[in-house]
């Protein structure tokens, strides 16, 4: 009771002593320091060049379809359309490599359609090449991480065989893998 009263008095006196209004466009730094919680604010996206493997989990989970991926030859580009994004942060939460972060930058207004580039965040990753048919397969970084993680979980008895097989079949696209699994000797049932 007493604590509440003292708090109320402090707020009442504070209202009289200083202006409540924040002089936003003039003192924007003050707003950023005082009224915005830097860690909680969800603003413009930023991809981490080193951490992002280009798996596309963010595109799958995006509820408004703001993040899109497109493969052109041997490059996959992830694009965030800020005009469509609802800043829910699901892409950041789902990212297995923590390669996508939402910066606290919220000043994203722009005039007209001319400044279209400023409403987009782009990131490109390199895709691997199939040794058999020459098509683009998966992002090279993703292959490395997946192989590494899979081998950690396999028991010791099969680890060497699986490691050898993986080293072979990550070089091929899924179709070639399926059609040539006998030739390449990578069929999973051979170890049973």
């Amino acid at each position: 009771m007493k604590a509440g009263l003292t708090k109320l008095t402090r707020v009442l006196i504070g209202n009289v002593l200083r202006p409540v209004t924040v002089d936003y466009p003039v003192k924007s730094q003050q707003v950023r320091d005082v009224s915005i919680n830097q860690e909680e604010t969800r603003g413009k996206h930023s991809f981490d060049e080193e951490k992002c493997v280009g798996c596309g989990a963010c595109t799958a989970v995006c509820s408004s379809g703001a993040i899109t991926e497109s493969d052109v030859q041997f490059e996959r580009s992830l694009k965030v359309e800020l005009g469509r994004c609802i800043f829910c942060g699901r892409c950041r939460d789902i990212c297995p490599e923590r390669g996508l972060e939402l910066t606290p930058q919220f000043e994203l207004s722009q005039t007209g359609k001319g400044a279209e580039d400023s409403t987009k965040v782009e990131h490109t990753v390199q895709l691997g090449k199939c040794e058999s048919c020459g098509r683009a397969t998966f992002p090279t970084k993703q292959i490395d991480t997946v192989v590494k993680r899979a081998l950690e979980k396999i028991d010791l008895a099969n680890k060497i065989t699986a490691g050898k097989d993986m080293a072979v079949y990550v070089r091929y696209c899924p179709d070639c893998r399926r059609s040539q699994s006998y030739l390449l000797n990578i069929h999973p049932r051979k170890s049973y």
Binding site: T21, Y24, S64, G65, I86, C88, F106, E107, L108, Q110
Partner: protein, 149 residues
């Protein structure tokens, strides 16, 4: 340069008409917060009007469903020239979660607003923070200043 006193006065105290085009009311709450004491847009000479005929800035929120679309166009034509249109929120800019590129758009979607009326300033966010709305409106004031003089 022509001395246009009326135009100058208008560009320094722009009045806003807020058109609610079928949104979820979240942008509207943030707009109300802009006019509340903390951010107090009226210190910039801005006033929120209920009549499009008094307004200089036409602020649209919401994805503009098919039922609202003709009314939105009619209200837009009632705003006197020169006017600046502001699309506030993701719905107004692109359709937001109601619109998809893969043909799975909402059946009732008549917008986005850009399809119906010309838009000058875009404010992304769902909803945009009051600060972002103020920042977008500052861009709109500049645009209005260019249009009047």
């Amino acid at each position: 340069m022509r001395l246009d006193l009326k135009g100058k006065a208008r560009s320094y105290s722009p009045w806003i008409f807020h058109a609610h085009a079928g949104g979820c009311n979240n942008c509207d709450i943030e707009l109300a917060a802009c006019f509340a004491p903390r951010f107090d847009l009226e210190r910039m000479g801005v006033q929120l009007r209920n009549n499009p005929r008094h307004a200089d800035i036409f602020l649209v929120t919401g994805p503009a469903p098919k039922q609202i679309a003709p009314i939105l166009q009619r209200v837009y034509s009632q705003v006197p020239n020169p006017k600046v249109t502001v699309a506030c929120g993701s719905c107004a800019i692109t359709g937001g979660i109601y619109n998809r590129d893969d043909g799975k758009a909402n059946y009732a979607l008549g917008g986005p607003v850009e399809k119906l009326i010309p838009v000058d300033v875009l404010i992304p966010g769902c909803p945009p923070r009051p600060e972002s709305i103020i920042e977008g409106l500052m861009l709109a004031f500049e645009k209005l200043r260019k249009k009047t003089t």
